[in-house]
Symmetry: C2
Subunit: 204 residues, 2 copies
């Protein structure tokens, strides 16, 4: 389809990389401050000290910019816990999620990125990949628990990790309920209870 390669791919060196870094940083700030619908590429360019044309050429839509930011975030991996018990590990995971979502900047940023994913196919794909990566990073807690005999063999690790985050995001997005450390602990405890009961044994 596109006979010409996408801008930034042929010469990803010095200047191009600096422009991308500056734009992504400013875009993150703008998304956290004003939300996805207020994302104005001209404003981003001005704040990043970059030509407006450049931003429109490399990220022709706001959704593509959000997608690129998500791809960048997915690369910044943070290590999982290993407390020795499934309950301990998942509780730490849940508290980390709550800490992130209740952080002023981070919480707004995640909301904006989810909004972007609901408005743009590229951003949607990038967001899904981001969560696949994050879930994969914590899946080891579950396989370790299986090895220790805490939960049944055949338990789907990703489903358990997803079950921890799910009620926290449901509160953030659907009900709008405020989150605290108790919510994190309950989310982890519910996931452990489900795993012990064998709810996620034998998936696809």
């Amino acid at each position: 389809m596109t006979s010409t390669p996408a801008p930034g791919t042929t010469r990803p060196g010095g200047r191009t990389a600096r422009v991308r870094e500056a734009v992504l940083r400013v875009a993150g700030d703008a998304l956290a401050e004003d939300g996805f619908d207020a994302l104005d590429l001209a404003e981003i360019a001005r704040r990043a000290g970059v030509g407006k044309t450049t931003v429109y050429r490399r990220w022709n839509a706001p959704g593509a910019l959000a997608a690129d930011l998500l791809a960048d975030m997915a690369e910044q991996s943070l290590p999982r816990s290993d407390t020795g018990s499934l309950h301990g590990d998942l509780t730490e995971n849940a508290r980390l999620v709550v800490k992130t979502l209740t952080d002023e900047r981070q919480g707004r940023l995640f909301k904006a990125l989810i909004a972007a994913s609901l408005c743009n196919a590229q951003a949607a794909e990038a967001l899904h990949r981001f969560y696949e990566v994050r879930i994969g990073e914590w899946a080891g807690c579950v396989t370790d628990a299986v090895a220790r005999g805490e939960i049944p063999a055949g338990t789907d690790p990703r489903a358990v990790v997803a079950a921890v985050s799910a009620p926290l995001y449901y509160a953030l997005l659907n009900t709008g309920a405020a989150l605290n450390a108790d919510d994190a602990d309950r989310a982890a405890a519910a996931a452990v209870a489900g795993a012990r009961a064998g709810v996620w044994v034998g998936e696809g």
Copy 2:
């Protein structure tokens, strides 16, 4: 602040009601088809056979239109199940949610409305109210289960109902995983396991 009352409140009769109905129906179609970011009030007016000025006067922002649609949807209550067991009730609830979210039109509409809620404060409030209403409608399943002695006294009914939907929305929004009846059954089973384990005893 606003000395003049909002348009549509003083004379909510015939014509005004017809305009609102036509605009909300068309807005729902447009949101399901093209998503929230593509919502164009001029286009809505044209399709609804209504003056562009009228739409801008009554719903000055796309988010307000989404909020009004959500308020309308919240009024259309649908009854909960009563199968005689918590597991049976929650499974029916979960399957209903999956059926809704996997429906071509409904799934897209909900995504668009959640996007709207992430871009606009009015829409956010309306969405949160919508889910509070929906959760409240099914809370009786949990209080019944407590009365039957299936789960511990003091269990928070709303938390249990929310726990059923949470993983389904997490799949829809965060991971992008396709949903099926098995996912519904597992969501319900996990909520039951958590409730039996007393995870949601003694909240707020």
